[in-house]
């Protein structure tokens, strides 16, 4: 079960092309090392079929997150830490994510905003 050459990296390059030769030619960059959202979706289906819908949901959220930058990922994480955001800020973040096609991540933030407000975990 070593690498299926048809699997794509985030860059669109097929992993079969990630060779030492390609390294020597200086062709490869970070996007060639990143996992593709379709791969995560496929793994989510596998997890679901093996009695773990929560792992599937996580992998689907991850598929969404492949579309945003590292800095933005870290910024959202920071916003979710206790005492960092007002409910309003979390709701706005969620709306922005929903708009950009990240509905699962948006739902996580929306839910957080509601519970944080009730539990005093907001800024």
């Amino acid at each position: 079960m070593t690498s299926d050459p048809m699997v794509q990296a985030l860059s669109g390059r097929e992993v079969g092309e990630l060779t030492l030769e390609a390294v020597r030619r200086g062709e490869l960059g970070l996007p060639d090392l990143r996992i593709h959202p379709e791969t995560l979706e496929r793994q989510a289906a596998v997890a679901e079929a093996h009695a773990n819908p929560q792992l599937a949901e996580n992998l689907r959220r991850a598929a969404e997150l492949t579309r945003i930058s590292d800095d933005e990922v870290l910024a959202i994480y920071s916003a979710l830490r206790p005492g960092r955001s007002t409910p309003q800020q979390l709701a706005e973040l969620a709306a922005g994510l929903a708009e950009r096609g990240l509905p699962r991540c948006a739902a996580l933030l929306t839910e957080a905003a509601e519970v944080y407000a009730r539990r005093g975990l907001c800024a």
Binding site: L20, L33, I35, T39, Q43, L59, A63, R81, P82, R119
Partner: protein
């Protein structure tokens, strides 16, 4: 273990409450001012008494399995929504309750699971007749309090049985810590290669100096690739940096995401279930394997246990882990292992935590990564049941380096214990994931890893290292063997890696340019394989052919004797063939190295008539295959002393080899019967010696040295002298066995068996005794 750097939990503040309990206990002892008797003073001085033992104190959370304040298990569902969880109504849910209620439970099976009696649930958990999948199905509908109640019922042997069945991956495995006090890259590379060669499938590093982290990641990546294919790497630091290293392909998994069992402590750790859920997805989005970290004692140390038992609080952590979609959990105490170990039934609690993770269908990385006792017996007792049962990772960090170099703090097992662990695998016929590596192989791999690391650092302009440094790193048993090093060079190399945005591609190119094409190809192959994402599934590791072994591809199918994981014949040979293993042929060769031209046959042996004549009877292989006693003295040295002792007391010794028996009593008696004095000495090649008299029964004797390994030159001389005194009719003070407190039998029995086999091979029924030359013996 990953907590300290990641979360910076305020340990000192928390541990005060624990100290109060411990101190008051000691004060109670001290009130009894009378000096105890020697027996008690002796017991007090044993290492186990350096450990802290806490009286149960539920109000502080110092209670393992059940606290009076643990809630009654309960679940109320209304219109598909959890409205009451373990006695808490929805309106009062804290953040943990809320997350579990919304995401953590399978409401389709919850009424069935909650309706089972605790005992019935526990019986199904242990019974090999109830499949793992059925327990997983039921557990998905059980609340934290329910699982805690069920697990508290299991006795130790039942925990072992249940764990054997419940672990997710069929093939057990192991994780190593590789760190050192100096963050020395060449030593890290050499030690990673060593750990990979020993069989560890995950390697976790961390830093004493945070800024060094990128350098550690690069050095470990190179070292592991030299050691074996498919080793997953982690650099445990704060979240942002760890994620960054992963995004650049320098590391491949993480376990720093800590969970806690109370809302207060969770928030003190600067997170919530939602932030952790997001972070979990963030790791997956960058293609990194990730597990969360929890474990008993954390809440107690933070003075935030809210009167709940350790097992109940951990049940909440594990429920959160499942709910946020993590594939696995590192628990079993971790940093708090010694807190759990300080209370009654604490070790049961630690193992129950691991088992609970497995019930929730997650990967278990089973702790054993913090030295929980000063006592070798207690720390072994803590780890052994898990090793016997087998876990996805038996250690969430076996300290593959020496204790002092472990920047997580010493693990429960360390480099000091690798041979012990290999022997334990062999003793029990179980697969702990490790294997023996020959001395030559270790040297070759360490050399190659350190050289490759140096070449990459030089090539990328990160740092340069001298030949002297390199050879010290290859040879070093730990960083203290490196001498003075330039630690600033490490900081600046790390800075260059981080600021230059170095990725795994740069490392691969540098390896390739410097003639390490195979290692470069290994890393590329792993990079490609990771992109398939199969290793994001539960309990995934790569084997050395880069096949993913996981819950999906290698599910545990244990269903009683004759089922489940069994080491393959090839793997069993690997487990059995520890480097200390010896056979008769090894011993024959070792003996042959001591062969000399002494003890030649002088002629047939006849009876003596001189009253000063004492015969020294020798066993059949002496002067042929056996030349060296167990004590390390040669047989001729022992004989020289015996003869000198006889002479001192006015007797004359004769050497006679008996060829018809290996039995020392019979040899000694036969010698006595040939001797003019009627006194004989019997000496087996292995060094056992006695004095015999012609009128005694074979099994009787006058004096005996039965502990051959401890007999010295002086003692042989004394035996010779005493034999002469017997010959003169005196009654000497008998020579005494040199008893010791060492495991003499463990050390020497295998040699004795081989030596006796060599002796037996020369026995011939009815063969006559021969007199041997004494030439060269004085």
């Amino acid at each position: 273990m990953t907590e300290q750097a990641a979360d910076g939990r305020p340990k000192l503040e928390g541990s005060r409450s624990l100290e109060v309990v411990m101190t008051s206990q000691l004060a109670g002892d001290n009130a009894d001012t009378e000096v105890p008797v020697g027996r008690v003073r002796f017991m007090d001085a044993q290492r186990v008494n350096l450990d802290g033992f806490a009286r149960e104190e539920p109000s502080l959370g110092l209670v393992a399995l059940h606290s009076p304040d643990d809630p009654e298990p309960g679940l109320v569902v209304s219109a598909g929504r959890v409205v009451e969880l373990d006695g808490v109504p929805e309106v009062s849910f804290d953040a943990i309750d809320a997350y579990i209620a919304r995401h953590g439970l399978d409401l389709d099976v919850s009424s069935e699971a909650m309706g089972l009696s605790d005992v019935e649930f526990a019986r199904r958990l242990v019974s090999p007749d109830v499949p793992r999948a059925e327990i997983v199905r039921l557990s998905a509908g059980a609340t934290p309090a329910k699982l805690a109640r069920v697990l508290a019922l299991l006795r130790p042997a039942e925990l072992v049985q249940a764990m054997t069945k419940m672990r997710a991956r069929r093939t057990p495995s192991n994780q190593a810590h590789v760190t050192n006090r100096l963050d020395d890259p060449l030593l890290l590379a050499a030690d990673c290669a060593t750990a990979a060669a020993f069989g560890f499938r995950e390697i976790e590093t961390t830093v004493p100096v945070l800024a060094d982290a990128p350098s550690n990641a690069v050095a470990c990546l190179i070292g592991a690739a030299v050691g074996a294919q498919g080793v997953l790497m982690q650099c445990s630091v704060e979240e942002a940096l760890e994620l960054e290293l992963g995004m650049r392909g320098l590391t491949s998994y993480a376990e720093t995401v800590s969970l806690y069992g109370t809302e207060q402590v969770f928030v003190d750790g600067d997170d919530t279930p939602w932030s952790k859920a997001f972070l979990t997805s963030a790791y997956a989005s960058r293609g990194m394997k990730m597990r969360v970290s929890s474990g008993a004692g954390a809440e107690v140390l933070m003075a935030g246990a809210e009167g709940r038992s350790m097992l109940y609080l951990e049940a909440r952590c594990v429920a959160i882990a499942r709910a946020i979609g993590a594939q696995g959990v590192q628990n079993g105490g971790i940093d708090g292992a010694s807190v759990a170990a300080s209370v009654p039934r604490g070790l049961r609690e630690l193992m129950a935590e691991n088992l609970m993770v497995m019930m929730r269908n997650l990967e278990s990385c089973s702790g054993n990564d913090a030295l929980m006792s000063e006592s070798d017996m207690r720390r072994t007792s803590r780890t052994l049941p898990i090793v016997l049962a087998g876990s996805d990772f038996m250690f969430s960090g076996f300290g593959s380096i020496q204790r002092y170099d472990n920047m997580f703090g010493p693990s429960n097992f360390n480099a000091e214990d690798i041979d012990d662990f290999l022997a334990m695998q062999r003793d029990w016929g179980i697969d702990g994931g490790l294997r023996t590596v020959s001395a030559g192989q270790i040297k070759a791999l360490r050399t190659s890893a350190a050289e490759a690391c140096r070449a990459v650092y030089r090539h990328l302009g990160l740092a340069d290292f001298t030949d002297e440094h390199l050879s010290r790193a290859v040879d070093a048993a730990g960083s203290k063997d490196l001498g003075e090093t330039d630690t600033l060079a490490v900081v600046s190399a790390a800075q260059a890696i981080r600021e230059g945005g170095l990725t795994v591609i740069d490392v691969v190119a540098a390896l390739d340019d410097n003639g390490y094409e195979a290692e470069a190809e290994r890393i590329m192959e792993m990079t490609r394989t990771r992109l398939a994402g199969d290793y994001l599934q539960t309990s995934a590791i790569f084997d050395e052919s880069l096949r993913v072994l996981s819950l999906i591809t290698d599910p545990n199918d244990y269903a009683g004797p004759g089922t489940g994981y069994e080491p393959s014949p090839q793997r069993l040979r690997e487990i059995d063939a520890i480097r200390q293993e010896r056979g008769v042929e090894d011993l024959r060769a070792e003996q042959a190295r001591f062969a000399t031209s002494h003890l030649a046959v002088a002629g047939p042996a006849g009876p003596g008539h001189d009253p000063r004549d004492v015969v020294i009877g020798l066993s059949p292989a002496v002067g042929r295959d056996v030349w060296r006693c167990l004590s390390g003295l040669t047989v001729t040295e022992a004989l020289t002393e015996l003869l000198a002792g006889l002479e001192e007391e006015g007797c004359v010794g004769r050497l006679v080899r008996f060829n018809d028996t290996v039995d020392l009593g019979r040899i000694g008696l036969a010698a006595a019967r040939l001797a003019g004095s009627g006194i004989g000495i019997g000496l087996q090649g292995k060094g056992t010696a006695l004095i015999h008299r012609r009128d005694l029964d074979p099994l009787a004797n006058l004096e005996l040295y039965s502990v051959a390994p401890s007999v010295t030159r002086e003692l042989y001389r004394l035996l010779g002298a005493n034999a002469a005194r017997h010959a003169r009719g005196d009654t000497p003070d008998p020579a005494r066995n040199p008893y010791s407190d060492e495991a003499i039998e463990a050390r020497y029995h295998t040699k004795v068996i081989s030596l006796m086999a060599l002796e037996r091979a020369w026995v011939k029924d009815g063969a006559s005794p021969e007199e041997l030359s004494q030439e060269g013996l004085r």
